[in-house]
């Protein structure tokens, strides 16, 4: 196999955000402020005591947190599999995962609007009396908040420790950090699997307290990974097209990132299809009710959009080798999939409160822009003085010379 390589020209200057950081920070903060202000404004204007706004906020929150969680899992899996191909630029997902503590604070509004989201959390006790057994205890505001706090502690701890130890390695250059993080990764992955599945039950599945699907955690995971791979591709592409990281990221890396995006796109479709098929086939009313709201009536179009937009079209597009090896084209499809991932979450959350018409409000868009702005601003603040490459990672050279067959 003859792949010609340009000699890596990595210099400290092009591996830092430096002048880019203030601009990113300004862009991110303005997006965040404008987004949230518009969303709140629209929420007030709606005059429904923030019910619609609460749903918009939840969609944006789960969408953005899901991306960060997916990125965290990506870092964990890199260590778990002792992988080398991505080690030079693992700093980028590390910075993103280190932002998770901020999302713990951003969860506070959800706690306040919980009664608007979940009938079981409403002050009126009559609404949750009908639940019996575990559900009567499980779906209560206080246990909900306690669980949420536990997830937040675990995720923040994992995100920060992988970030901190990686920075330590920049200074010391020792392999102890790698060893330690590799040892921690199986435990981190297990914790991730447990907390992320429970989070998906708590945050989305419980919106319809009667509905349940054992697949739901896996469905959430598959979406997170599509979002995470798209975000990583977009950031890497953005940094490179603004003159950063020459040599550290080659077409080979884009090719492999593209393969992973392709794989998770397929995996998402596999899980979404299996969940739908099994519920459709069995036709048990408790279960079909959830899909009935989403695939009949005004929301049916969104269902079709997901089938074609989240799977068929990107599946055929990203399958192409050419597509994966052209950073601009790949970035386009990453953006596309990020958008579709949002549509997926929106389609899971909103239909019950707007069963009669398709509802995409200013507050939906405002919250999504706001949360994405937070990611950009957070990336700029955390990453502003840091090298964007893990120069002293023991597998650094392996990553630079990576070839995707």
């Amino acid at each position: 196999m003859n792949h010609s390589h340009a000699a890596p020209s990595i210099e400290p200057s092009n591996c830092r955000l430096d002048t880019m950081a203030p601009r990113l920070l300004t862009f991110g903060s303005i997006s965040a402020v404008v987004g949230f202000v518009c969303a709140i404004g629209a929420g007030i204007a709606a005059g429904d005591q923030f019910t619609r706004f609460a749903h918009s906020y939840l969609v944006g929150y789960v969408f953005s947190l899901g991306i960060l969680l997916g990125v965290l899992l990506f870092v964990l899996l890199q260590h778990l599999t002792k992988s080398g191909w991505f080690s030079a630029i693992r700093r980028i997902p590390e910075i993103l995962a280190a932002l998770i503590p901020v999302w713990c604070l951003l969860a506070l509004p959800i706690v306040f609007v919980l009664p608007k989201l979940d009938p079981w959390a409403a002050a009126d006790p009559g609404s949750h009396l009908e639940h019996t057994g575990l559900k009567a205890i499980y779906l209560q505001p206080v246990p909900f908040v306690v669980r949420f706090a536990i997830y937040c502690i675990i995720w923040s701890w994992l995100g920060r420790i992988y970030f901190r130890r990686s920075l330590d390695q920049d200074k010391t250059g020792g392999i102890e950090a790698t060893r330690f993080l590799e040892r921690l990764s199986p435990i981190g992955t297990i914790l991730w699997a447990l907390t992320a599945s429970l989070f998906s039950f708590d945050a989305i599945m419980s919106l319809d307290a009667h509905w349940y699907s054992t697949m739901f955690g896996v469905y959430f995971f598959s979406g997170c990974m599509v979002g995470a791979m798209s975000t990583i591709i977009l950031i890497v592409w953005f940094l490179q097209s603004s003159g950063h990281l020459p040599g550290a990221v080659t077409k080979e890396h884009y090719h492999d990132l593209g393969k992973l995006l392709f794989a998770f796109t397929m995996f998402w479709a596999y899980i979404a299809f299996s969940q739908y098929l099994l519920i459709w086939y069995s036709n048990i009313p408790e279960e079909t009710g959830w899909f009935a709201k989403r695939v009949h009536g005004p929301w049916a179009g969104v269902g079709w959009l997901l089938i074609f937009g989240h799977f068929v079209v990107p599946y055929l597009a990203i399958m192409s080798r050419h597509m994966k090896r052209q950073p601009r084209l790949l970035a386009f499809w990453a953006l596309w999939q990020l958008l579709m991932h949002y549509v997926d979450i929106w389609w899971q959350v909103v239909p019950p409160i707007s069963p009669d018409h398709l509802s995409l409000t200013i507050s939906d868009i405002g919250c999504a822009v706001g949360f994405m702005g937070c990611i950009v601003a957070g990336f700029a603040i955390v990453g502003r003085h840091l090298p964007l490459i893990n120069e002293r990672d023991p597998r650094f050279m392996e990553s630079l010379s990576h070839v995707s067959p």
Binding site: G133, F201, T214, V218, L278, S401, V403
Partner: protein, 478 residues
């Protein structure tokens, strides 16, 4: 993929072991004082020995006797009807479907190793893929037996296939049982093709080394005129990667479709949306268990410890640990959702599973699949051959019981207590399970005797491991 085009010997420094986990360098995959020539010699000599070892004859004799017993049992079954089994309402599916799912599950490791690990560039797969793929094919053959003899009127078994006929009678295309026919037969075909494509260069090696004209002729036919030219290799590698891409979704689809047999129903305990990925994880888990059970004695008896090293075994143990925990997560999720649902029927089903008449089977399953693999958290245990041999067997005991628990414990408590029934297998049920192992081992022993059990050409592609990276350094191959 990089592979050798010729069999030249290149001096490679001898490595004592490859167990170091130093992140600065990748561990070599072949240890000892080996080069291309010795690897070819080691693998080929197994099938070239003029005298077959006595132990092989003994093992083959036992397996073939059991396989013959299976044939006799099938004859008996056809003669008397499936009443000789213990199945009865409400337990309409029991041992035979358990065996079917069990064997299909075992047949998952091969294609996972050959396709998914190939796409993930896990180079250690080269020492074990041939072996695992062969195992896959034989396991799927064993699996295919059971639905075919379960149909009641076996002379109509061909009705499973949508064959145009003058009665204009078709199978129900909306039935997952029909999807199974397509899924399993597609999987079998692609696995066989994949195995065979990978074999071609090695069969040519055997042809070129053959001492007798007959051997040369037979291996020559199967080697399809392979000469090892650059053009051959080019086409071969393209075909191989395409097959890997095609086989990857199949690894997921086959056991997903098998899980649909249960999950599309309305039977509590069968109908769970998590079934497809949960079955796939379990299948990989059991498949790796079986690969380990088989590979541990083989590498010892055939002196392949330097090729199938302790590191390979350790990696497989890690996969067993991780897939075992995925299965554990699925068990936990099912229980949690049953409790969360507050649906009395769901709750009853799962309490019945853990505390009801088949609680013993349930706890065997939990111990073998969730508890026992935890021993692999310890590095010493992951590297202890006796420990992993025992664990690998227990994993398959556990996975057999998993299917038993899912199928039988969900059926034995029907919606009306008047229809409750404790299922017990008859001697025919038990004998058929044993007989299926006879069929499996007969085929497997034939494979060991006539086909190189390690992919020699592929192994050479990963052999000399330069210090920093394989690709960057000057590798001695093209």
């Amino acid at each position: 993929m990089s592979t050798m085009t010729s069999d030249t010997s290149i001096g490679i420094p001898s490595v004592a072991d490859n167990l170091s986990d130093d992140p600065r360098r990748r561990a070599p995959l072949v240890v000892g004082d080996n080069n291309y020539a010795t690897v070819t010699e080691k693998v080929c000599s197994v099938v070239e020995r003029p005298k077959t070892p006595l132990a092989w004859y003994v093992a083959f004799g036992v397996s073939a006797a059991l396989a013959t017993y299976m044939v006799v049992l099938i004859g008996y079954l056809f003669w008397t009807g499936i009443g000789v089994w213990g199945n009865n309402q409400p337990v309409g599916w029991a041992f035979e479907i358990v065996n079917f799912v069990f064997w299909v599950g075992i047949g998952h490791a091969g294609t996972l190793i050959s396709a998914i690990l190939f796409l993930l560039r896990q180079h250690w797969r080269t020492a074990i893929n041939r072996f695992a793929e062969a195992m896959t094919i034989f396991a799927v053959i064993c699996a295919g037996l059971f639905p075919a003899i379960h149909v009641g009127r076996p002379w109509f078994a061909y009705w499973l296939f949508p064959i145009p006929n003058q009665m204009n009678m078709w199978p129900n295309f909306r039935s997952p049982l029909l999807w199974d026919v397509f899924a399993v037969s597609t999987y079998f075909t692609v696995s066989l093709l994949f195995w065979y494509v990978g074999l071609i260069p090695d069969l040519a090696t055997l042809r070129d080394r053959a001492q007798t004209r007959l051997r040369s002729f037979i291996y020559g036919i199967f080697a399809l005129g392979w000469r090892g030219s650059a053009r051959h290799w080019h086409r071969y590698e393209v075909a191989y990667i395409l097959l890997a891409g095609l086989a990857t979704p199949l690894v997921l689809s086959v056991h997903s479709v098998v899980s649909f047999d249960f999950a599309t129903s309305q039977i509590p305990g069968w109908h769970a949306t998590i079934f497809p990925p949960y079955f796939v994880a379990g299948a990989i888990f059991s498949g790796f268990g079986m690969v380990l059970t088989l590979i541990i004695p083989c590498r010892k008896w055939y002196g392949l410890e330097e090729v199938i090293t302790l590191r390979h075994l350790e990696n497989m143990n890690k996969i067993i640990l991780s897939t075992g925990m995925m299965v554990g997560l699925a068990y936990g999720t099912e229980f949690f959702i049953a409790a969360y649902s507050s649906n009395p029927i769901e709750e009853f089903t799962f309490i019945n599973r853990a505390l009801g008449p088949y609680a013993w089977a349930y706890w065997i399953m939990i111990c073998c699949n969730v508890v026992v693999p935890q021993i692999f958290w310890s590095r010493a245990m992951r590297r202890s051959v006796p420990v992993m041999f025992v664990v690998s067997i227990l994993v398959n005991v556990g996975m057999w019981f998993e299917r038993f628990v899912i199928i039988v414990s969900s059926l034995n408590r029907d919606f009306l207590p008047s229809s409750w029934h404790y299922y017990s297998p008859t001697w025919v049920d038990v004998s058929m399970l044993i007989g299926s192992f006879g069929v499996f081992f007969t085929l497997f022993l034939l494979f060991l005797r006539f086909v190189p059990m390690v992919a020699i050409a592929e192994l050479k592609g990963v052999m000399p491991q330069p210090a920093s990276t394989r690709r960057n350094a000057e590798a001695p191959h093209a």
